[in-house]
């Protein structure tokens, strides 16, 4: 029932309100005495260099895709786990077939070095 999700809505509202209040309140009341080192992105930290919009390695892409694939696999596990007793042996066989196919994929990725960073 949608009403069960009221706490989430309340939390979203509280989060937004908190952020808004904290920002406006400090902006209104805080003293403002800027100097160059205070205005740098990381005060007392490393000065940033280069652009943040540089190209990253395709290796991240590989990781992200593999993550999605196994994420989808897990989504299928959840209803299966909930119904495990009801589905009996057949459910187990079904899931075994599903997992074996993906396991072949897992072995394949492993052997091809898909989990190595280099």
């Amino acid at each position: 029932m949608p009403i069960d999700y009221l706490p989430i809505l309340v939390m979203v509202v509280v989060v937004i309100a908190f952020a808004a209040i904290a920002l406006t309140f400090s902006a209104l009341t805080g003293p403002r005495r800027p100097n160059p080192s205070k205005l740098s992105p990381y005060e007392s930290g490393m000065p940033p260099f280069g652009s943040a919009r540089r190209r990253i390695s395709i290796k991240y892409y590989l990781t992200a895709v593999l993550f999605i694939l196994f994420d989808i696999e897990i989504i299928f596990f959840y209803p299966w786990a909930v119904l495990f007793r009801q589905l009996q042996l057949f459910g187990l066989i079904e899931m075994a077939v599903f997992v074996i196919v993906l396991l072949v994929g897992y072995v394949y990725i492993w052997k091809k070095g898909g989990f190595d960073w280099d």
Binding site: M1, Y60, L62, V82, V101, L102, K112
Partner: protein, 170 residues
């Protein structure tokens, strides 16, 4: 009450979807996409499908969006500069898109989809639980699509290695 929530999230979804298409900065477009995904999850909750809503947040907002952002970082495309070589393409696309939209609105506004309701009413779902309902169907009637999905995922795994993996030792 439900109706208010529906219109709230439906409006949010439409506006954010327009943002995905219209915003020139790809990172902003990706953020709008996150809003679309989460609004859709809220709509699924309204439809008494919390499992689908959770899957939507986990897979789409959680994983697929990250992939989009990775691809944006991978290509670092900068800001879209507007129409390319084919200048007449945009007006033409607008005309055809508008025609399709009018057609769909005319057809859909005139009809309440008259399909018979299935056996899973919101009350029944609340009683047996929607995960149980999905699981009971997925692992019996929809057995074949379920197993094919695993092959589809396997092909995707092989594909990503073939297309994106740096040359393997061989």
């Amino acid at each position: 009450m439900d109706l208010i929530v529906f219109y709230l999230f439906a409006t949010l979804a439409v506006i954010a979807a327009l943002g995905v298409v219209a915003l020139r900065n790809p990172v902003h477009a990706a953020l709008c996409l996150a809003v679309v995904f989460i609004s859709l999850a809220a709509l699924y909750v309204l439809l008494s499908a919390p499992f689908v809503a959770a899957a939507q947040v986990m897979i789409y907002a959680g994983a697929i969006l990250i992939l989009f952002v990775f691809v944006i970082m991978l290509l670092s495309p900068g800001v879209d500069q507007g129409a390319g070589a084919l200048k007449w393409q945009r007006p033409l696309a607008a005309v055809f898109g508008l025609a399709l939209a009018v057609e769909l609105i005319l057809v859909l506004a005139s009809a309440v989809l008259p399909a018979a309701r299935g056996q899973y009413t919101p009350e029944r779902l609340a009683q047996i639980g929607d995960v149980q309902a999905i699981g009971a169907l997925l692992f019996t009637d929809f057995l074949l699509p379920f197993e094919i999905t695993s092959l589809l995922l396997l092909v995707a795994m092989v594909g990503v290695i073939v297309l994106a993996k740096k040359r393997v030792r061989s």
